[in-house]
């Protein structure tokens, strides 16, 4: 009995450490890979990079989840110069799912950008940083 109580207490102590982890192993989804790329073809990112020319016309944020236990949503939040530009809701289906969002590029979009990938409970899963240039 004392052994069970000890395990239980240990579990209570260790549990918060896991829940505060950088965001990749949260509840029932696991973000295995995410990148910013020029295009997405056949569910694969094409030309992942950190610099994108405005002449490319579009930029994509690709995210792959290798473990999805139940249907849920995530968000891709696009920021330009620390100011939110758009928030895109994406649905994940079990058991694994890859999804992406994109933005159309205009002349005024040049500058430093970042995309925050967050889950349905606003937990930050990953931050991707890139620049839009000439």
């Amino acid at each position: 009995m004392r052994y069970i109580i000890f395990i239980f207490c240990l579990f209570l102590l260790v549990k918060p450490l896991f829940s505060e982890e950088s965001g990749k192993q949260l509840k029932n989804i696991n973000l295995s890979y995410a990148t910013i790329c020029e295009d997405v073809k056949d569910n694969n990112p094409k030309n992942p990079a950190v610099i994108f020319s405005i002449s490319g016309g579009e930029v994509f944020c690709f995210s792959n989840f290798d473990s999805v236990s139940e249907k849920t949503v995530i968000y891709h939040i696009w920021y330009r110069n620390d100011k939110m530009s758009t928030k895109i809701k994406l649905t994940l289906q079990p058991p694994a799912w890859a999804t992406f969002s994109s933005i159309q590029l205009r002349e005024g979009d040049k500058g430093p950008w970042r995309v925050e990938i967050i889950d349905s409970e606003n937990n930050l899963l990953q931050v991707l940083r890139f620049s839009i240039t000439d």
Partner: protein
């Protein structure tokens, strides 16, 4: 009516009573110190002028009120210049105790009998004499060349002064109280044409001084052995000792009984004290309980006791409008700098602090009442310096050659600690580098750049790295 009076009096605070008592005492002391000088009489004249001007003003007499005001203003200046000697002698001669609470009873003990006896004795001997009994006016400006004597009056002394061979016999002596204060004094000569031809220089000098001052002068004729007195530009021969005694008593104010005189003096002080209280109370009521006036003023809000680590970020109001009431006289005399609104930020914290303005926060001149404050609530947003660790992001610019892809950029350090205002850092999640040009990049490499901080309220924390290493990787398309 009774209720109205009670309501009127119930508004009086203890400070007001104190105010009346102090002012009355100051006025009373002024009377005690200057009562025997001409300054006091002039001041009473000035007060009357001021009243007259107020009445003329209230009646709408434009020119009269203007003229009286000009006279009053000029008179105030003239009094200080002309009567500086009297003012100085009163203030210099007395110590602090005498000025603040001492009483000097002016019991005159001029030995009139000795003087009168001597005067008629000299007349009999045909010994000329000129004796001055000053009135309330100062003679310093009128007479000249007096030699200080300060000897107690005696028959022998007077006789010896006017003895022919005495070097100081040619001139007048001045008697104050029981002392001969000055001898050989040169008096101003009268220019009157109607003086009897038998009158010589001595008589002309006596009349001259009588014309210019309120002094009484006794002249003993050397040629005719007569006694003449001059006062207020008049002169008369006195043949009887009793008459001369009467006139001298009247001039000097001597009473036969010193105790009675002391009683009279005390009564005078008592009446003066009561009059002072009545006068000051009247002035006080006219000032503070006069026609009630409303005035609206905008005053700045002053913030005090702000913690040194904090600063005011924003306030909902920098000034407030006060609606004040008081008597017309007080409102008119009120100055803008006498009114202050001070909010104590001692207990304020970082963020928005709400203050309700209370009468305790506002300083007003005495007698002025606060009716309303607009706005009554002031919000003060305070900020403080905080430290925050932020990620650094490379800020590329220019155009990368078409055949290349920049696949990664690793920054060292990845984070930087900055110090700045809480409210600024709250909304900041990234620090960018200065612009990194892409145009010349042909292959992977490293570049050292500085962080770019475009806000004056933020700086890199002490000991923090100011150089950022950017390792970038490029590949062919």
């Amino acid at each position: 009516m009774k209720e109205l009076l009670l309501q009127y009096l119930s508004g009086i605070r203890w400070q007001d009573l104190f105010d009346i008592i102090i002012s009355s005492y100051m006025l009373f002391r002024f009377y005690v110190l200057f009562r025997n000088t001409i300054v006091f009489r002039i001041l009473i004249g000035l007060v009357l002028l001021w009243f007259f001007q107020s009445i003329a003003n209230s009646l709408g007499l434009i020119v009269t009120s203007w003229a009286v005001r000009a006279i009053t203003a000029a008179a105030a200046l003239i009094i200080i210049v002309v009567f500086r000697n009297e003012i100085r002698s009163v203030l210099q001669a007395k110590n602090l105790k005498a000025i603040l609470w001492g009483f000097t009873h002016s019991i005159v003990s001029t030995p009139l009998e000795i003087i009168i006896d001597t005067v008629y004795d000299m007349a009999k001997r045909r010994c000329g004499a000129l004796i001055v009994f000053p009135g309330k006016e100062d003679l310093k400006e009128v007479v000249q060349n007096g030699i200080q004597w300060n000897g107690v009056v005696s028959k022998e002394m007077i006789l010896s002064i006017f003895w022919h061979d005495n070097p100081v016999h040619d001139g007048a002596i001045v008697i104050k109280g029981d002392q001969i204060t000055e001898v050989s004094v040169i008096l101003p000569l009268s220019h009157r044409q109607d003086l009897p031809s038998v009158y010589g220089t001595r008589h002309r000098a006596a009349v001259g001084l009588a014309e210019d001052s309120d002094a009484l002068i006794i002249v003993v004729s050397e040629e005719r052995g007569t006694v003449t007195i001059a006062k207020n530009a008049h002169y008369m021969e006195i043949t009887k000792k009793e008459r001369l005694e009467e006139l001298l008593e009247e001039h000097i104010g001597v009473m036969s009984n010193p105790v009675e005189q002391l009683k009279k003096e005390k009564l005078k002080f008592g009446i003066a004290a009561v009059l002072c209280v009545i006068f000051v109370t009247g002035v006080w009521f006219s000032f503070t309980r006069g026609l009630s006036t409303l005035i609206s003023m905008e005053i700045p809000v002053e913030y005090m006791n702000l913690d040194s680590g904090m600063e005011i970020w924003d306030t909902s109001a920098n000034a407030v409008r006060l609606l004040l009431s008081g008597s017309d006289a007080l409102i008119q005399s009120m100055r803008h700098e006498q009114i202050r609104l001070r909010l104590d930020l001692k207990k304020a914290a970082v963020g928005v602090n709400t203050f309700t303005i209370t009468p305790e926060d506002i300083t007003l001149p005495p007698g002025i009442l606060l009716k309303r404050v607009t706005p009554q609530i002031v919000e003060v947003t305070l900020d403080a310096q905080v430290k925050k660790e932020l990620p650094i992001q490379a800020d590329f610019s220019g155009k990368l050659p078409e055949n290349l892809i920049l696949v990664s950029a690793k920054l060292t350090p990845e984070y930087i600690q900055v110090v700045g205002k809480h409210r600024v850092l709250e909304n900041m999640s990234t620090i960018y580098t200065e612009k990194i040009p892409l145009d010349n990049i042909q292959s992977s490499g490293t570049i050292i750049v500085n962080p770019f901080i475009n806000s004056t309220s933020i700086r890199i924390a002490q000991g923090g790295k100011t150089r950022i290493k950017v390792e970038y990787t490029v590949k062919e398309r």
